[in-house]
Amino acid sequence: MPKIDLARNEWLVALVIVAFCALAAVSDPRFLSIATLTDLLRGGIVLTIFAVGAMLVLVSGGIDVSFTAVAAFAMYVTAMALNAVAPWMPWWGALGLGMGIGAFLGSINGTLIALFRLPTLIVTLGTLSIFRGFMLTFVGQKQITTLPPGMREFGRMMVVRGTNADGSFYSLHAAFLVTVAVVVITWAILHRTMLGRTIFAIGGSVESARRIGVNVARTQFFVYVYVGVLAGLAGTIHASMARVANPFDLVGLELSVIAAVVLGGARLAGGYGTLTGTFLGVALIVLVRNSLIVIGIPNTWQSVTIGVLILLGTGLPAWQAKRAAARAA
């Protein structure tokens, strides 16, 4: 049993989540229901996949703000391409194509970062504009309301479906399983492969890694391609679940996702980040987005609440670190 350490973000965020749920349950007993849970899970699917990717980049010592544009690009092009040339493609083919497009766009980031050694924030800021600009200029700007059959099929796939005692429906989307798979695979890469340990290593010290013969460029390239794959997957899932591919969706979420990951304890300076923390960070953000009203705060205060949480979640550890440094010096 690990001891509760409030200096660690995971515990802090977990406590806030528990407090939030307790408050919500007190003011509305219906809050503690399977329906709420499945709603939250549904709302968290795309965010979680994004966040896992963003966490991986932060661990490697970089930052990626382009993943939302990658996702939008992948989902839009997938929907359009399948409609045009391969409507027979099954759902897994659609997800695969989305991931492939994501991998390609990620490899552009990877090349600029690993080969040209440009700062990650600037590169991904640039490619955010490029991917989005390219899609809206050359691919299209209209929503695709008739998705290809494969994506429609996936959009309707449920793992569990049922009716509550009060007659309301609940369901758990199949994308939840995909998310679980993403988390498991990422965990395995990070903790059970040398590649994963190398990602932590270059986040801890790039210079040390170079000196002991780590192929830093290859590792970075992998990271950005992997994030591209996850973003492509998340984008395609998003369109399937929303039953529409809107090219204007998703972009704008990037900073919130990074905020969620940092809330969960990943460090901007690299080398630190956990899947548990990431999950908790996303959970808190989703909770605030979906259920703020339940604890009596109007939804117009949503963004203020998330801002305050980010400042508290990053401010407390920063303040503690600063005080510890002053004591030690």
Partner: protein, 493 residues
């Protein structure tokens, strides 16, 4: 028996400047060799060539008798040549076990990470050097000596046959140095060779078989370690005897300048009291961890003591506030010039002028000609050799950089100057000149506090010496009453 490593005719030039000129020597299995040399003597270039990081212009390098072609880091590592850099190049966020096993696992081209195997490698390696460390501790939480140990183990775990240690003792306390020497003896018995590379080698001489001295890229001396002592090493490294004369005696009537009373910071230093008179150079020495650096910072307000007081010319100085220290007339030249002292990418003039901005502000705007003029003046007075004051300060040599930091503080006309390691990383020639500057400054009535573990430096510059141990001042010595050996003994005992 063939030598483990044989170097012959190693030559390397950078942009027309010869860094290494026809250097050659051998290292046998289980042998410890000292490679001594000043900064700029070419020893770092030699390490980089052995590690495969730099390519020589010309060289015959043999590993176990076999002539090597162009080296790269991988090839050198595969041959068992491992460099432990001064900063250890560890991963602070990973555990002890992972750090130790990382290179070995990379070398073995592992794809999967097996925690049990990694722990086994780490445990076995630690056992080999005879030390116990918590395998699951994150390296960032370790002490410097333990980090060094992890770095050594990492090299061993990858079957190191030759471990090259760059400045291995600078960050260690005397006790830790003894621990290190014990480990080195074990390694030698195991057949592992060690190459110590340093400009401060007296303390490792006892475990070495051989000494090689470099000066200006050439090998100037080589022989059994028993033929060398600290003095002869210095003579070979510098090419001259740098026996410096002690400072002129202090005027007995010199007025009291600074009083420090009962300065205390738990965990760093406690109850530190001393006086400093105008024109006096006061040395404070102690081993690493004795609290000397924390005390130095506290004098300048960078560290906030919890008790005690500092009075300058009778006026109390607010503690823990560098701005108050500067207003009172205290200046501070930090130990780590590159990270603490200088703005490397900024111009030389700006590096000096930054200390005098307030004085040159008229109605909110700077009198730039006045500011740069004054800065240039000081640079001339301290004989800084620079192509132009607009050049970035990183283009200067260590000695000139130190003078830039000195110029910044002298421009503020301080009354007390605290110099922490005034000649760390400065070549011997510049060192003597910096000592000359210290002497000239004190002659003008400036009070100088020199904090250093360079004993000859302290003896050459100070009127009076304070010894710190475990955060307390334990001894007060007049340089005339002591010598290097006696002083070293008093620091350590």
């Amino acid at each position: 028996m063939t030598d483990l490593i044989a170097l012959e005719g190693v030559t390397k030039t950078y942009a027309g400047i010869t860094a290494l000129d026809d250097v050659g020597f051998t290292i046998g299995a289980g042998e410890a060799v000292c490679l001594a040399g000043e900064n700029g003597s070419g020893k770092s270039t030699l390490i980089k060539i052995l590690a495969g990081v730099e390519q020589p212009d010309r060289a015959e390098i043999r590993f176990a008798g076999r002539l090597q072609g162009a080296l790269n880091p991988r090839l050198s590592a595969d041959a068992g040549v491992m460099v432990i850099f001064q900063d250890f190049s560890l991963f602070p966020n990973l555990t002890v076990a992972e750090n130790i096993a990382f290179s070995a696992e990379l070398g073995a081209h592992r794809r999967l990470f097996n925690r049990a195997r990694v722990h086994e490698i780490a445990r076995a390696t630690l056992e080999r050097v005879g030390v116990a460390l918590d395998l699951n501790a994150r390296v960032e939480t370790l002490s410097v000596a333990h980090k060094q140990l992890v770095a050594i183990c990492r090299a061993l775990a990858r079957d190191a046959r030759l471990i090259i240690m760059d400045e291995p003792t600078t960050a260690l306390t005397e006790r830790e140095v003894r621990g290190l020497l014990g480990i080195i003896r074990r390694l030698k018995a195991d057949g592992v060779a060690v190459l110590f590379v340093s400009h401060k080698l007296a303390e490792v001489l006892e475990v070495c078989e051989k000494v090689v001295v470099l000066r200006n890229g050439r090998k100037v001396a080589e022989g059994p370690a028993t033929d060398f002592d600290a003095a002869s090493l210095t003579r070979h490294m510098t090419g001259r005897d740098v026996a410096e004369t002690p400072p002129d005696p202090l005027d007995p009537g010199a007025p009291l300048l600074m009083e420090v009373r009962g300065l205390t910071k738990p965990g760093a230093f406690s109850d530190v009291s001393f006086d400093l008179r105008a024109g006096e150079v006061l040395g404070i020495s102690g081993l690493l961890g004795s609290g000397r650096t924390a005390l130095a910072k506290a004098l300048f307000g960078l560290v906030a003591p919890e008790g005690g007081m500092i009075r300058l010319a009778g006026q109390a100085v607010r503690l823990g506030d560098p701005l108050a220290a500067v207003r009172a007339g205290i200046g501070y030249v930090p130990e780590d010039r590159l990270t603490e002292g200088l703005f490397l990418t900024q111009s030389i003039a700006r590096n000096v002028g930054i200390g005098r901005l307030a004085a040159h502000e008229r109605a909110g705007f700077l009198d730039l000609p006045g500011l740069w003029g004054e800065a240039t003046d000081w640079l001339t007075r301290l004989k800084v050799k620079a192509p132009s004051v607009d050049a970035p300060v990183r283009a200067l040599s260590g000695g000139n950089q130190q003078r830039v930091v000195l110029a910044r503080w002298l421009a503020t006309s301080p009354r007390v100057l605290v110099l922490n390691g005034p000649s760390v990383g400065v070549d011997v020639g510049s060192k003597a000149e910096i000592h000359g500057i210290i002497r000239d400054l004190s002659a003008t009535g400036l009070g100088v506090v020199v904090i250093s573990d360079d004993l000859p430096e302290l003896l050459a510059t100070c009127h009076r010496l304070l010894v710190m141990r475990a955060g307390r001042i334990t001894d007060e010595i007049m340089p005339a009453e002591t010598d290097e050996n006696d002083l070293a003994h008093r620091l350590a005992s």
